[in-house]
Assembly symmetry: C2
Homo-oligomer: 573 residues x 2
């Protein structure tokens, strides 16, 4: 008799596992159950449907060859039976059956030989007064996306508040502000946006771009209530202010839907999430699970983590399909690779941030570089900013984050590191990584090679840097700190700073340092600056050799100015 397989969950993991299984074992009888009407849609595309970049919701439901992935498609093209608008109520592991309830309320018992759980996640709920007012949304289903798009496209929304500055929240902010001209405010409780994804310095670059494009961003601020009129939301009250809002998005993360598994006695984590082996089996070997409802080992830390990412779900789904079909594959772990488009900039990363690495107990350091994505003499180019996170003693690469106007360019840099990370690379591997080079698309020494070299110079003590964030703090307290910045660029670059801050900023071009050693004070905290950090580093070597102790600004004025640092702004003391 053919294998009977029930799949619970019809988005990302479920359809992928089911389709792969049918290819490996064509005579398996597969039934896929989902509580909603729409199945197998591109959930990551929701912000682009809301923005209008994707004009028709149909496009999120179609294959690349323009067939709608509906019940008939799965029946005809995949030989998979789909029960939509059907809830899975319970799993009886003794009789190996799943009890489901169809749209009309009838209950039914589905027998299985193997069961696949792709139950996904639910947006984290905030216990806010006013949570149930109209026009308060999470962004969890296509139904909701359709209702949001209806609201914004009718012109009835003039102001919106996004609660939570994670990836989805910021994508929604762009969708509202960019395409619909809605006055948009993001409120985030942490002291920076994208707190789990970027360092403070990188996040400041992102925040700057949001603000530049008209989005208001409030960090370190907590939403306390939603207020409305006629049952529709009208205002968001925070601990600092009241903000008008015709529409509110709650985007404060998601939680794994593990209750079905938990009630069936499957091993789940105390803080949520089904525990699975690397073969994607739960504690019952006949039940597999993957995607947003499971925990996955982090390839850097070796610890379980939560990675509710559509791309991960697809790859885990394939492993499940193979294994249920009689194969044996493993899903070894996750890195947390991400990329997000914010207006005309992209931010991306993989592995750990510096703060994340230190939280995990790594003795870690990060280096900042800024360089063109293409050859510096090639006319079409954008600057790439990178922050490379390394373990101090081993030189092991723990993660990297970056930003560039050209999203494909930053993806190239992040993906190269993501592809290496499971092999535990060190700086030497990245220093000599042989990336494809031609002036229209790269540099002879790519930004990645340079980032590794800079990190090595720091770890070997060849370079004594100061990071952008630390320099910004130092500059704030420049009098008490007895700071002197030596600008190693040529005079035209240095002039505005020297003119405005003659006591704190002097100019000695790098090529003249050797002959002007007598101008270097020994009683001040000396920071060497240039555009990218390269000349400051050269100057530092000359000065170290002559017995001077200095710091060189990592990433130079190029990087730090992207974070919004400007010693010559009017607000300056």
């Amino acid at each position: 008799m053919s294998l009977q397989v029930v799949v619970i969950g019809g988005v990302a993991l479920g359809p992928k596992a089911a389709a792969r299984l049918k290819r490996v074992l064509p005579d398996a009888q597969v039934t896929m159950v989902d509580a909603h009407k729409y199945i197998s849609y591109g959930g990551c595309g929701i912000p682009y449907y809301v923005s209008g970049d994707v004009s028709d919701v149909q496009q999120l439901l179609e294959t690349s060859f323009h067939m709608v992935r509906d019940i008939e498609f799965f029946q005809d093209c995949k030989d998979i039976t789909v029960m939509a608008e059907t809830r899975a109520l319970s799993i009886d592991r003794k009789t190996k059956t799943v009890v489901v309830q169809t749209k009309d309320g009838a209950q039914q018992s589905l027998p299985y030989d193997k069961l696949i759980l792709g139950t996904g996640s639910t947006p984290r709920q905030l216990p806010l007064p006013g949570r149930d007012l109209g026009n308060v949304f999470t962004v969890s289903t296509l139904d909701e996306a359709i209702r949001i798009r209806e609201q914004v496209s009718t012109g009835s929304v003039s102001s919106a508040v996004i609660v939570g500055a994670g990836l989805i929240g910021l994508e929604m902010a762009e969708a509202f502000a960019d395409m619909w001209g809605i006055s948009t405010t993001v409120v985030e409780v942490a002291d920076q946006i994208m707190p789990d994804f970027l360092s403070r310095a990188m996040a400041d670059i992102a925040k700057g771009h949001l603000v530049e494009h008209g989005v208001t961003v409030h960090t370190s601020e907590m939403v306390q209530a939603l207020e409305g009129e006629d049952n529709q939301v009208k205002r968001v009250v925070t601990n600092k202010r009241t903000i008008d809002a015709d529409l509110v998005i709650l985007a404060v993360g998601v939680l794994p839907n593990d209750s079905l598994a938990r009630e069936a006695g499957l091993l789940c984590h105390d803080r949520g999430g089904i525990i699975v082996s690397k073969t994607m089996q739960t504690s019952d070997p006949d039940i597999y699970a993957g995607g947003d409802c499971v925990l996955t080992e982090n390839l850097i830390t070796g610890k379980l983590g939560y990675y509710p990412l559509g791309s991960l779900a697809n790859r885990q789904g394939r492993v499940i399909g193979t294994n249920v079909g009689g194969g044996r594959q493993t899903f070894d772990g996750a890195l947390g690779s991400f990329i997000v488009k914010l207006f005309d900039y992209a931010f991306a990363g993989t592995g750990l941030t510096l703060a994340g690495a230190r939280r995990e107990g790594f003795k870690a350091w990060s280096t900042h570089v800024i360089m063109p994505d293409h050859a510096h003499f090639y006319p079409d180019r954008d600057m790439v900013s990178l922050e490379l996170v390394v373990e101090e003693l081993s030189g092991r690469i723990l993660g990297i984050q970056g930003a560039c106007k050209n999203g494909d360019s930053i993806k190239a840099r992040i993906d190269a590191v993501a592809a290496m990370l499971k092999f535990r690379p060190t700086l030497r591997d990245l220093s000599n990584a042989e990336l494809a080079y031609t002036p229209p698309y790269g540099s002879a020494m790519d930004a990645l090679n340079v980032a590794a070299n800079v990190a090595e110079n720091v770890l070997t003590g060849q370079c004594t840097p100061i990071q952008p964030e630390d320099f910004a703090r130092l500059w704030e307290n420049r009098t008490q700190e007895n700071l002197l910045c030596i600008d190693t660029r040529e005079w035209p670059n240095a002039e505005p700073y020297v003119t405005k801050h003659p006591n704190f900023w002097v100019n000695i071009p790098q090529g003249q340092i050797r002959d002007r050693l007598d101008e270097i004070p020994k009683d001040k905290k000396v920071v060497l600056v240039c555009n990218t950090g390269a000349r400051a580093y050269e100057a530092q070597i000359t000065l170290s050799d002559a017995g001077f102790v200095t710091l060189s600004l990592q990433g130079g004025m190029g990087f730090i100015s992207e974070t919004g640092f400007n010693p010559n702004a009017n607000k300056d003391k």
Copy 2:
């Protein structure tokens, strides 16, 4: 006493090694000798200077912060003494001196503690009648580039012939045809362009784009003579025709400049190239060499190969600088990563081609995929074509080549594999590679993940494919071969082919295959086709399960049509 170091060669490797050395060991006394006037220029930028994309030759000589890397720059900013227009005549290893001849003819002896050879390469010479006519160039130095640009920019060149369809030859072809409207012909002796870099199918895609942009390409054709008038070249005579040419570029590869090393008794390869250890030391441990004059181990084959690439030279230069300065680093080997821009398309690769792998004795296979670089529902996207080369039994990844209109997108895919290759990845590593995903810049299952999955399906016998090249041959002989193509797309896609070739092309949409098994002939060679290979693969599984033997076209009509294959073209039988 401080270390005395002589560097021979002032482009790429030499300056990099010298500058790195001075940073590691600031009191080293470094003298860099070069035979030419211009030093430390971006040689890879020459085609873009000739085209005018880079407007001023100065830009190739400048740092990213717009300082010209001339003798003064090296003196002031790097504390390196440069002797330009100075030829190194011989090395005396006993006395540890280099004899050089300066511009005025005077000879001088330079003592060294350590010597660094970055003597580069020389264009391969063809013993052609007419080789010495005016306007016959190689593209080896900036001087030559300046003379070429002078010629083309004065409008005196109406036709040009490029001999050799390697990377530099094709870049020059683009420069002439695109920016200066010169009637341009490329003549290549091999039966395809870029023979060492791409498979025939991928090379056909590239050739198609060259032709589309007005470049004439003759493959399998040998140049026999150059003819001129008034000492200027006017015609190129091949074994097949005579082509008008006011200017000729000979771009048939380069040879390592190893004679200085060879005459000094250093170990060199019979067929050219200095032999160095992974620490970049020659057979004399006080003499280091790198860049275009050395051989480098291939990381896939373990054999010595020749990689005259500017990016490699820079990275090897850094290793030399570190080691001469008392450190110990290694350069582990090369992959041959490349990318080339041809008009509005980019072609790239890393590792071995299928032909290269088989020449090396690998039992290898390649898979072809075609997919959008961004989500298929996102409006801004281009198709990525990939050919993944794998070892059959192990599933080890040996190389990958690809093409895309978006050069940054193809770089992202190739660089991710390049970053992995030294760790000897298998298909499973690539299948689960966690690349950064968001719809504006990628797909949930990236083209790289898909390529690995397709390859795995082939290796496990799950899919029985036919490659584009083989299918094109089969189609040519469709009557004798008793061929039947079953088009598994919907009718509108299949209709033109079915109408034109009713005996060879029928339509059974993939979703109907299961119900129309009686229409599948058992006495014909059946090839299943669709747009990308995905539906043909699904159909094949259904048919295999029902006992039919078929082939599915890899990469589908999408890939093969890029190579110029068109069963409905008028030239058709």
